[in-house]
Symmetry: C2
């Protein structure tokens, strides 16, 4: 399948590599490809500049947001939450309509210090904002509750005995994303939370994730939902 | 130990019974004990009126918030989050100062429909509000991420293989609460998230908890944190 991924950071790279290896044709999208290729410094997290990564992955092409969107039968929003709506506008509604958009971004706001807070929360979510702004795209919120490595290689943590969530308005879109999570990434446990408004749950989990990261000193973790007998 | 619990709902009752059985002397506090005893209808969740429960638990005494606070060497805030600050003001600063307050409440706001949103979130939390309003009490946020039964009987779910969190400014207070969670309730896994500002994490988990409750159809669940090897 042709897959377009918006973003060129560690999340986009990790998922892009994993999906390309699984047999898909991946194209990454960015605002200004020439500028992205010209960066010579590591990013804020110490990851190598894009050009160094691309030299190792020549089969994954870089284009504009619009080119990645036009290429993809299925799309992935791996931009930073603060820039997601702008990236999708640049992708162009005509390139989005009718397609599934896996929204894996978090609306993190570091302007008020660390750890980040959320720029949208409680009575709205980034997933809902995207769905409202682009009613023709089928938004499925997922994977935002784990770091890039766990997204793409869930079996590396507790042999995959932990959970990821789905929120979205279309059952068929969620079924296709569930299949991709299972077949291409190896996710064993996927919980459908309901419509896109339920994205508030996994997005508002981020503040706990950030503190757990601090307490554990390691971002390679996730949560497993364990249930007892009903009363 | 003498323990004062603020609240008379299912959370206060379940914890009160569990702590009394563990050998503590528990007193519950309410705004108006006569009114609480006079209620003849089940509460909004279908639990029997307080008088019916108390007839089965005559050793657990009911008093005002101030009486429960004066009684307790350790205090538990099991009121509804929207009424917590008012309850603590009624308890009286002099009855709180120097004591540990386990804050297990959630700032749920049902006024905007179901599921509830949070009345405070993101850049503040109920735990912090309480600590700011009562600087002499040692607030330890905990247990708010599970329902009453799981709080008091964690081994009933997956034999206790799941996590609860601590947030608070005083290491010694957190150590005492950790001991109580382990010895009196049977918690196996307790993660210290840090100071009271980290209460934003477990409080903002509630929107996910509420959707999981919907998806699972059963409130007797919790999350287990599973970690892989660091990169």
């Amino acid at each position: 399948m042709n897959i377009g991924i918006f973003g060129t950071g560690v999340v986009a790279r990790t998922l892009g590599e994993r999906l390309q290896t699984a047999g898909h044709a991946v194209r990454l999208g960015t605002r200004d490809p020439a500028q992205t290729r010209a960066r010579a410094e590591p990013d804020g997290y110490g990851n190598p500049p894009f050009a160094a990564w691309q030299a190792q992955h020549p089969d994954i092409r870089l284009g504009t947001y619009a080119e990645a969107a036009a290429h993809g039968e299925l799309l992935v929003n791996a931009t930073q939450g603060a820039g997601s709506l702008e990236a999708l506008r640049a992708a162009g509604e005509g390139n989005l309509d009718g397609k599934i958009l896996m929204d894996i971004a978090n609306p993190l706001d570091s302007s008020r210090g660390m750890p980040p807070s959320l720029s949208v929360a409680n009575t709205d979510s980034l997933g809902e904002q995207i769905q409202r702004a682009f009613p023709g795209v089928k938004v499925v919120k997922t994977l935002n509750t784990v770091n890039a490595r766990v997204m793409a290689y869930p079996r590396e943590v507790a042999d995959g005995e932990h959970h990821v969530f789905l929120s979205g308005n279309e059952a068929e879109a969620k079924a296709r994303v569930r299949q991709l999570l299972r077949d291409d990434f190896g996710w064993r446990h996927v919980i459908d939370l309901g419509d896109i408004t339920t994205a508030r749950g996994p997005e508002m989990y981020l503040p706990l994730w950030l503190r757990l990261w601090g307490a554990l000193g390691n971002g390679r973790f996730n949560i497993k939902v364990v249930a007892g007998e009903a009363a």
